[in-house]
């Protein structure tokens, strides 16, 4: 395979994408909504920063606080990208589907594929070039979105540290992986279907199944197979829950009397087993959903220090106090799924395209 031929196809595809009205409209919408979400994120970040500063000031003036040993946590600017993620999963997937669903079927309909194949280029070079062009266009869209977000951060005088900048790049890579998942679905359907209309319908059906139906089914299956959660034992006095504070701080030390109560310890063990069972059932189906995987990975990137990352379908437990690498290590299955999902669909596209009847 000569790379210059692949590049020739990729260059043409990339140019087609970024000059197409469909791409420009969705991209414009995508960027505008990204900017709005970033703005919203910056406002929340600034509010949390103010709270943090107040708490810090209190700590220096009041030595005896309500929770000795409690340290406020400085909010991360990655919080801003958490807001971006929610919009990305909706509009980004539309962008990816829009550029992929007729990539091959349109060539079949216009008969341009036959003309192209009469020139010295192999079929695998054509499909690889098409994928590369699409990846390039999505990468371009993602890069633009990140550039807009960084520009907005700077406009609002928020300067990311080197670690935060690395996290932003990882967030961008995860977002691109998410976009590629749906691009791969779309191009597979475009290769399988004879017409673009059918390709679009097949693509939307798969999109609905993996983005919505699978996570819901996973949650339902978890409810059915896990049974009822264990009931906590009767306590003499209710204790404050050692969870995240509104300012993002956490408790580093405690003398919780529940730790010595055997009934409570049994309950905690039963609850832990119940949660793990429930999570396992839910994960099995969620791992097939790019939406879920993207959400989990993005939360690990944007909020690595949190003890519990809540998603729309349940909670993901992440060990407290860990850094970005630890957080990513805990969601390695989701990262792998974000890579495997598009790879499987691209593989199917390749096989189908190589065997396609071009009469």
């Amino acid at each position: 395979m000569a790379f210059d031929r692949v590049l020739n196809v990729a260059r043409k595809e990339f140019s087609d994408h970024i000059t197409s009205r469909r791409f420009i409209i969705v991209l414009a919408l995508f960027l505008v909504i990204s900017a709005v979400s970033i703005h919203e994120g910056i406002e929340v970040y600034n509010a949390q920063l103010d709270t943090y500063n107040e708490q810090l000031q209190q700590m220096t003036t009041e030595i005896e606080g309500p929770y000795p040993g409690w340290m406020p946590e400085k909010p991360s600017i990655m919080l801003v990208f958490l807001f971006m993620m929610s919009y990305m999963s909706a509009l980004g997937s539309i962008l990816a589907l829009a550029i992929g669903f007729d990539l091959v079927s349109k060539e079949k309909e216009s008969r341009s594929l036959k003309s192209l194949l009469s020139h010295p280029v192999y079929r695998d070079e054509i499909i690889n070039g098409k994928v590369l062009g699409g990846v390039g266009a999505l990468g371009f869209a993602m890069a633009l979105a990140l550039a807009v977000s960084l520009a907005m951060l700077l406009v609002f005088s928020v300067v990311p540290t080197l670690d935060e900048f690395a996290a932003i790049l990882i967030f961008g890579a995860a977002s691109l992986g998410f976009l590629l998942a749906y691009f791969a679905v779309a191009i597979t359907m475009s290769t399988v279907a004879k017409e673009s209309g059918s390709a679009l319908i097949y693509t939307l059906v798969i999109f609905a199944v993996v983005s919505t139906l699978l996570p819901i089914l996973g949650t339902m299956a978890a409810d059915v197979f896990s049974g009822d959660p264990p009931e906590p034992p009767e306590m003499v006095a209710p204790m404050p829950t050692p969870a995240q504070s509104s300012g993002g701080g956490y408790i580093t030390a405690s003398d919780d009397p529940r730790e010595t109560d055997p009934a409570w310890r049994d309950y905690e063990e039963a609850r832990k087993a119940y949660t793990e069972k429930r999570r396992f059932i839910s994960d099995v189906s969620s791992i097939l959903s790019p939406q879920m995987n993207y959400m989990v990975v993005s939360m690990a990137v944007t909020n690595p220090g949190s003890s519990t990352m809540y998603t729309a379908y349940g909670a993901l437990q992440v060990e407290p106090g860990g850094g970005l690498a630890d957080a990513l290590g805990q969601v390695w299955m989701n990262i792998a799924a974000l890579i495997v999902f598009p790879a499987v669909f691209f593989g199917a596209t390749y096989v189908k395209f190589m065997r396609m009847d071009i009469r």
């Binding site: 031929r5 043409k12 216009s110 594929l113 003309s115 009469s118 010295p120 192999y122 071009i358 009469r359």
Partner: protein
Amino acid sequence: MIRTENLTKVYNGKTAVDGLDLEVEEGEVFGFLGPNGAGKSTTILMLTGMIEPTGGRCLVDGIEVAKDPLKVKEIIGYLPEDVGFYGNMTGEQNLGYFARFYGTTAKERKERIAEMLELVHLDGVTQKAGEYSRGMKQRLGLAQAMINDPKVLFLDEPTANLDPEGAREYRDLVERLAGEGKTVFVSSHILSEVRAVCRTVGLLAKGKLVAQGTLDGVARTLAPSDGDAVRIVVETREHLPDLEDPAIIDIERNGTRAIVRAKADIRDRLAETLFSQGLHVREMRIEEPDIEDVFMAVYRR
């Protein structure tokens, strides 16, 4: 220049091309005739390296197509039936995209594209290919087939969408290419179209080659057999008298006109006899089988 050996293609258990043995010499303008569904397009797809044969092999300029399709594509041009282009690009951009696969420099590409567009009268056309008429697309198809200055040109139903003027220009183009020593392989089911440009033909029916050679030769081969007899048409101004010659088998008479079946060509002797009797000969010729009828009979088989 083009050779097929027992070339076979089977689609889902149905044989589209059945043991085809064909040979086309360099510089020939070859007409590949046959009714729709005879296997002409499938044969061309195998010859141009776009599909692989189920059995046998085909060679273009000594290169086995299935083994090195890219090398073959570099020396051939192909105009598909109902050719298609990228509708969002101009004709020039379409040609530019295809031309880049030949590893030429930007300057060479630009010059070749301009030359081709001028040749097919699409120079100066700025509209996108998606807005082209079918005739314009067909002309752009010819230009894309010749973008690499090919040694061999495969044209599948080349005049299908052309108006009379376009068809005449196409014939002139084929003549010009033949003059340059290029091999042209024209596939069509229209005899008149092939007759206008081709020196040799091959007739395909149900995936099998029925006959190959010059058009008249193929027609004679396929004409209903009359043994070694020669049919001579004779017409005089006056009433035709009785004709006597030892070579005559029988005569079908009709007033001043007759068709004489003879064992040999006896036109000289007949003319002498009629002249000696003072008769005026209006017509005397050997009756050739009607090509259209012969081909139509094969098409209907």
